[in-house]
């Protein structure tokens, strides 16, 4: 190799530094802390709106597109809908590029992260229909004391029963379990050749319903305190562990299914614990399965289940927040929510739509009844990771020790709150 003279090394370093400086002084680097709609003032322009959603399928995409275009026609602002293939990643990139979607699905998991780095507009208090939302849902989307976004819908978990297998085991409506002991007896009766009594996804998002029935949960209502290793939770996990070891409860993965709904649809489980979304999945993939929805049994502390919800987030960097707010108000109105519910399943997030929904879906009423006692999942920043970790431990619950598992989770959650 020829002797690289010092001159050339220096020249190389200068070149690199210049390149860096150029990119630093280039167009996009005007990152001087831009005002993000402070003091409640919304940005307004005539720019078209982009709506990004994480769709569960064609039905949902079509429903949202139709609702958005209806608004667009009446309001006069152009709007387009993008179905993201990886919602979190695309949102992240949008925020980092300072060119985010204007309106987007926001999950309870993602709220804390984006709220804390200033990507979101906290517009909750400016909603005209603010008082119509269920209080527990509003709490799920309150971060740091601010109500950030309008809940767009919600689902709760209840017990789904295969009516054919139910009657084949000699059970009737009066046998629908109301307590944990009754549930234990029923799953034993239902376990038979080729199918297990209860098949669920082995994760907190399902097993947590038992925790709420025992009076516990991973965190308190506004996710400011960690309660993972409470006695109630230990009791709940002990109960699930007993069912697992009896062989009457199996995880969907162990049955060869991707989730509880698939195990149920394939006839591998006589019952499952799932949310509203199962109706659409069963209709399209397993139309011949006859099922019934029943309320989950009461635990030592009474009724309990988990609820899942998403909201319509509005970006702080959106150039047309005023129009975005109007769009969200329309999308959370009674008519739109009922239309969405009809198309792909979840329940309206506003109290005024409850009666209409109940009469349109008489067999799904148990899902909505849960609105009174359902608890949300943790929303502290980083809690999604802790839940993933908990889920990996729950996979070996049958041979593990609930107290140890929950102690570790408690430790992780407390670390988040420091």
């Amino acid at each position: 190799m020829q002797r690289p003279t010092h001159r050339w090394l220096a020249g190389g370093a200068v070149a690199v530094a210049t390149a860096l400086a150029l990119t630093a002084c280039g167009s996009g680097f005007s990152g001087s802390g831009s005002s993000d709609g402070a003091s409640g003032k919304l940005t307004s322009s005539d720019k078209a709106l982009t709506v990004m959603i994480g769709s569960s399928g064609d039905a949902e995409t079509a429903a949202v597109k139709s609702a958005v275009s209806d608004w667009s026609k009446s309001d006069g602002t152009k709007a387009s809908v993008i179905a993201a293939s990886d919602l979190n990643q695309q949102l992240s990139q949008g925020f980092a590029a300072k060119k985010p979607a204007d309106v987007f699905y926001l999950s309870t998991d993602a709220l804390a992260g984006y709220a804390s780095n200033g990507s979101l507009l906290a517009y909750g208090d400016q909603l005209s229909n603010k008082s119509d939302f269920y209080p527990s849902l509003v709490k799920s989307f309150t971060y740091d004391g601010k109500f950030y976004c309008a809940p767009k819908d919600f689902s709760t978990l209840q017990l789904i029963i295969n009516t054919d297998m139910w009657s084949a085991a000699g059970l009737t409506d009066s046998d629908i379990p109301k307590t944990w002991d009754q549930l234990q007896a029923v799953v034993k009766k239902l376990t038979g050749a080729g199918h297990v009594g209860l098949g669920i996804s082995g994760e907190y998002a399902r097993i947590g319903s038992f925790m709420t029935q025992a009076g516990g949960n991973l965190m308190n209502e506004d996710s400011t305190k960690a309660t993972a290793n409470s006695d109630a939770n230990v009791k709940a996990l002990d109960y699930v562990k007993t069912l697992l070891n009896d062989g009457d409860l199996k995880y969907a993965k162990d049955l060869g299914a991707g989730w509880g709904g698939e195990a149920f649809g394939k006839g591998l489980a006589a019952m499952t614990i799932e949310g509203n979304w199962i109706t659409g999945a069963l209709k399209s993939d397993f139309p011949n399965v006859k099922y019934k929805v029943a309320e989950l049994p009461e635990g030592p502390a009474g009724k309990g289940t988990l609820q899942f919800t998403n909201c319509w987030g509005i970006a702080a960097d959106s150039p047309n927040q005023a129009a975005a707010l109007k769009l969200v108000e329309k999308l959370t109105s009674k008519d739109d929510q009922l239309a969405f519910s009809k198309a792909f399943g979840p329940m309206p997030s506003i109290k005024s739509a409850a009666d209409a929904w109940k009469s349109a879906n008489p067999e799904l009423v148990p899902f909505l009844s849960a609105a009174d006692y359902a608890k949300g999942v943790p929303t502290a920043k980083g809690s999604a990771d802790v839940v993933t970790d908990l889920n990996s431990k729950l996979e070996s619950l049958a041979t593990g020790d609930p107290k140890t598992i929950l102690d570790a989770t408690q430790k992780n959650l407390e670390a988040l709150l420091k």
Binding site: Q2, P4, W8, T23, S27, S85, E262
Partner: protein
């Protein structure tokens, strides 16, 4: 490729290049004794079994793409579907954005391949033949760049692309891929192996540097260029990480990104194997075709001299 783009590129580079330059084997003279015949039959048997193991997955893939969902789950190994159905392909081409993905992959791959052929040969020629101060430094930095793992670049490349304003555009997908260090390496090594006499002659006749390069040296570089074409096509067709970070618009999705999304079940619920396998199969066809067409040309050069 599981071993990462840069490393696998280098591996493929050396492999394909080595094959083109390999000497034909010199087999020691053998008497055709029974011992030898038995030995070669055993070798053959082992090879056949191994070949079946290597080819079987793809045959299963093809067969499954013509099955119904239920059939695919019930009879995973059978190579003949119970009922032949092209439902998967219909859904793919009509009810999804598959054609868009295909179109995007083609656009990007064509531009990247053309770009790499041009830029890599230019740089390779300069490093091999032209004397200019700093040539050593450029070469050394090329080697250094080749050893940077791809994962380090994932996040910051996104930031750079964003800052340059080419995020979410064809430019952002194509420009960063227009050249690669491994390709420059191949071209440089190749040019060094050509005798300089022809160029010298052209120089004496008064041709400029670029003229010499373009009209005289480049045509002589056919084998190396073919190698670059194959590797560039393969590399950009199969690229995933770069497209994840450089685009978000669904109309810019390429085959890799689209099929990866399919695999995680975005397009439909449940495990719909036939459609996923059909997508994967179609995705493989162009690269496979290119491979088969060109590999004969490369392998030929090393087999021609063997006497049996």
């Amino acid at each position: 490729m599981t071993i990462g783009p840069t490393a696998s590129q280098t591996a493929n580079t050396i492999a394909v290049g080595a094959l083109a330059n390999a000497q034909p084997p010199v087999s020691p003279r053998r008497q055709r004794s029974t011992g030898v015949v038995v030995a070669s039959s055993i070798t053959y048997a082992i090879l056949v079994v191994l070949a079946i193991i290597y080819i079987a997955p793809f045959l299963i893939q093809l067969a499954t793409s013509f099955k119904t969902d239920a059939d695919a789950t019930a009879n995973p190994v059978s190579l003949i579907p119970e009922t032949w159905t092209t439902a998967a392909y219909t859904k793919l081409f009509i009810n999804s954005d598959f054609p868009t993905w295909f179109k995007n992959s083609i656009i990007v791959t064509l531009f990247v391949t053309a770009g790499r052929v041009f830029f890599n040969s230019l740089a390779g020629y300069a490093l091999a033949r032209l004397h200019f101060r700093g040539r050593g430094v450029v070469f050394a930095s090329l080697v250094a760049v080749m050893s940077v793992p791809v994962v380090v670049l994932l996040i910051p490349k996104f930031l750079v692309i964003n800052q340059l304003g080419i995020y979410d555009s064809y430019a952002g997908m194509i420009i960063p891929l227009l050249t690669d260090a491994a390709g420059v390496f191949i071209m440089k090594n190749f040019f060094e192996s050509i005798p300089a006499s022809v160029e010298e002659q052209a120089r004496i006749d008064g041709a400029g540097t670029f003229r010499v390069f373009w009209s005289i040296v480049l045509p002589m570089a056919r084998p190396a260029l073919i190698t670059i074409i194959i590797l560039s096509f393969q590399g950009s067709w199969n690229e995933l990480a770069h497209f994840i970070v450089s685009t978000q618009d669904p109309s810019l999705t390429t085959l890799t990104k689209g099929v990866a999304g399919l695999a995680s079940g975005q397009l439909s619920q449940g495990s719909q194997y036939p459609i996923k396998l059909a997508a994967a199969a179609i995705m493989t066809i162009p690269v496979a075709v290119l491979f088969f067409v060109f590999q004969r040309r490369i392998m030929n050069s090393s087999e021609g001299a063997v006497k049996e």
